[in-house]
């Protein structure tokens, strides 16, 4: 009798310890960078739709942050809204409503920036997601991936994106790309090489926002 009780207690302990260590491993952390430079400021409607998709798809316990890409993006001030959803579904639903309202307000009051610091945004996103201790970490970049750095902004150093998924969304072709498509392809290849060198597990490009949105969160 004592032996069986001990086994029961031991198995319960093992299960409990497993539960504690395993909880965050299933949560999903998403950091979305929204390019606000130049003509991209007009694409905010699409960005809002993607945020809505993320809100509809993410589960209780997951984290979501939306930040704008500006001339220098390595700062918390660029984070428009961030949340870690409550474990209770009802509370998570309320938080999603509040988040949606914040993004709606941001989309209305957006101002274009002179430069585009994608690398700074990536570093900031990686920091934020590492803090959330999410199991699956995804950085979504809503941009044409054309980085333009202002004077004095230094970003040519190796960055760390160990275990991250990087998703480039709505990578529009520039006027010069149309003249020479190699520029567009080279740009994407350069970014892929850079994030993979930084330790990213996956690099995904999604241009078809109508039918391919599920690729944002689905791990291949």
């Amino acid at each position: 009798m004592k032996k069986s009780l001990m086994i029961l207690a031991l198995s319960f302990g093992m299960v409990s310890s497993g539960a504690c260590s395993d909880n965050r491993m299933h949560s999903h952390g998403v950091y979305m960078l929204v390019d606000t430079s130049g003509t991209y400021a007009h694409e905010m409607g699409k960005a809002a739709k993607i945020v809505n998709y993320l809100l509809a798809t993410l589960n209780p316990g997951d984290s979501l942050a939306v930040a704008k890409v500006e001339s220098r993006s390595f700062t918390e001030k660029d984070i428009v809204a961030k949340v870690t959803f409550d474990k209770r579904p009802s509370q998570a639903t309320s938080q999603k409503r509040v988040f949606k309202d914040k993004i709606h307000t941001f989309a209305k009051e957006i101002k274009g920036s002179a430069y585009t610091d994608i690398t700074g945004g990536l570093i900031q996103g990686a920091e934020y997601l590492n803090e959330t201790k999410s199991g699956i970490k995804t950085i979504v970049i809503f941009s044409d991936m054309q980085e333009e750095l202002g004077k004095g902004t230094i970003r040519d150093f190796p960055i760390s994106l160990d275990g991250f998924r990087v998703v480039a969304l709505n990578v529009t072709k520039l006027g010069t790309d149309n003249a020479d498509p190699r520029l567009y392809l080279d740009r994407l290849a350069r970014w892929e090489a850079r994030v993979r060198k930084a330790g990213a597990t996956e690099w995904v490009v999604v241009n078809d926002l109508e039918h391919n949105l599920e690729s944002i969160l689905t791990t291949r």
Partner: protein
């Protein structure tokens, strides 16, 4: 290629090298013939004996297991038949106690009816008509010797009187018969009552007779079990198979119910224990919590049925004194009701969560909310709540097929195991036989590779000893064929 070449004496003359190699190999194989035959023979004999030994052990074990299965099956069958007979006797006892109590009253009633009928019958006895007075008068007139008007007048008067009397008598007779008919008519309800009572008695007697026949059948089975008849054992085994099939079917249906139950409470449980908590890699805590609640409901149902003595999985509960058993019954019923109420409220919460999520989705998709009809939208919610309350009680009855499944599974698994062991025993025996014969086959196959030295050996022997060896060879071949 390099390896091959290293084996060749003259790499430029492959055929010659191979021939020389074959000859050398043949000589070695011929020299090793006896030990090789010995190895083949010993290995095959060892294998054959081992397989036969294991086969024999399997047969013995199967027989022992069969005997054990038989004793368990018969004991279980005996117990079950004893319970059935006891219940049949109880039923007969109840019929006798209930109906025989009514018999004196019934008898009194029938006697009263019979007395009444007898009285009535007596009343309607035939009353002979009074003797006609005119016969005496006719005799008086006949004694008058002289004729004349007087006798004629007298006869005429008599005739008139007789006519009057006749009419009166006939009228009275008819009146009397009418009265008797009325009495007989009044007796009809009494007859009907008696007939009805007789019918009731007959029905009760038929029921009693049916019960008696059933008891006879069960006693017959019981005797068969006691006598360990093969027919009874076979019937019990088949009955176990049927019970297992039926109880498995019911269990599958119950599992379907449990699955619906689980779906009903898994989502709201995430509101209580958290939706993002995982117990293991893919096992959500909320799912486990929902499962635990369902299992608790099933356990409470099991205890309830145990305390009601419907099932007998726990002998300790069955042997409890009545007061304790009643307490256990009340406790398990109370727990079951509480769990059902919890589940009903969880079903309500599920509906609210689903509605809230649907509303959020509409907001995110910027779709106008659908116009809601109050009653129509409430029907699923009410349905879910009712299901949440009823399903735990329905799940409680799983204990009955569960018990049947456990009991019948013991027999079915035992029978399958015995058959499996016997099948394996036969296969091993066949393999043992095969190995025994294979020894000869391998030896002969070995001899084929050294056929040239053997022919030389035979030739040398013939040269040395004459035709006697030649005579031995056919006998040897015959022996081989026989083997």
């Amino acid at each position: 290629m390099t390896n091959w070449n290293s084996w060749l004496f003259w790499p430029d003359h492959v055929a010659l090298s191979v021939l020389v190699l074959a000859l050398i190999a043949m000589v070695f194989l011929y020299a090793a013939r006896k030990p090789m035959h010995g190895i083949i023979h010993s290995t095959c004999t060892l294998m054959s004996h081992s397989l036969r030994f294991v086969s024999r052990w399997l047969f013995l074990a199967a027989d022992q297991m069969g005997l054990r299965n038989q004793s368990v099956l018969l004991a279980h069958g005996q117990e079950s038949e004893a319970v059935t007979i006891e219940r049949e006797f109880e039923r007969v006892g109840n019929i006798l106690r209930k109906d025989m109590q009514e018999f004196p009253a019934l008898q009194r009633k029938m006697l009263e009816e019979a007395t009444r009928m007898e009285d009535e019958y007596r009343k309607c006895g035939v009353v002979p008509p009074p003797p006609p007075e005119w016969v005496t008068a006719l005799e008086s007139v006949a004694q008058i010797k002289s004729g004349g008007d007087i006798p004629r007048k007298l006869l005429e008067d008599i005739s008139k009187s007789i006519q009057k009397i006749h009419d009166k008598t006939i009228a009275e007779f008819r009146r009397s018969y009418e009265g008797r008919h009325k009495i007989l008519h009044a007796m009809q309800p009494s007859w009907r009552t008696v007939e009805k009572l007789m019918g009731e008695m007959d029905k009760k007697m038929v029921t009693l007779q049916t019960n008696a026949k059933q008891i006879d059948v069960h006693i017959g089975k019981f005797e068969g079990i006691r006598a360990k008849e093969n027919k009874t054992e076979h019937a019990l085994t088949m009955s176990s198979f049927v019970h297992l099939a039926i109880s498995s079917l019911v269990m599958v249906i119950a599992l379907g119910g449990a699955f619906i139950n689980y779906k009903l409470i898994a989502l709201p449980m995430s509101e209580m224990v958290g939706a993002s908590d995982y117990l293991m890699s893919n096992l959500k805590t909320s799912d486990v919590a929902a499962l635990v609640i369902i299992l608790m409901e099933a356990s409470m149902g099991l205890f309830l049925l145990e305390s009601l003595r419907i099932t007998q999985l726990f002998p300790r509960i069955a042997s409890m004194d009545d007061r304790m058993r009643r307490r256990l019954m009340i406790a398990s019923l109370a727990f079951l009701t509480i769990l059902a109420a919890i589940e009903s409220s969880l079903a309500l919460m599920r509906d609210m969560l689903v509605a809230d999520k649907a509303s959020l989705m509409r907001d995110l998709a910027s779709i106008a909310p659908a116009p809601s009809d109050g009653l129509l939208t409430r029907i699923p919610m009410i349905g879910q709540m009712i299901m949440g309350f009823v399903l735990p009680f329905a799940l409680a009855f799983v204990a009955i097929p569960f018990e049947s499944m456990i009991h019948s599974m013991r027999t079915v698994v035992g029978v399958c195991l015995v058959q499996g062991m016997r099948g394996l025993g036969v296969t091993l025996r066949f393999l043992g036989l095969l190995f025994k014969r294979l020894a000869k086959v391998f030896e002969m196959a070995y001899d084929i590779t050294i056929v040239v030295p053997l022919m030389v050996e035979r030739w040398v022997l013939t040269m040395r000893t004459g035709p006697s060896v030649e005579m031995e060879e056919p006998a040897f071949s015959k022996q081989r064929r026989a083997a």
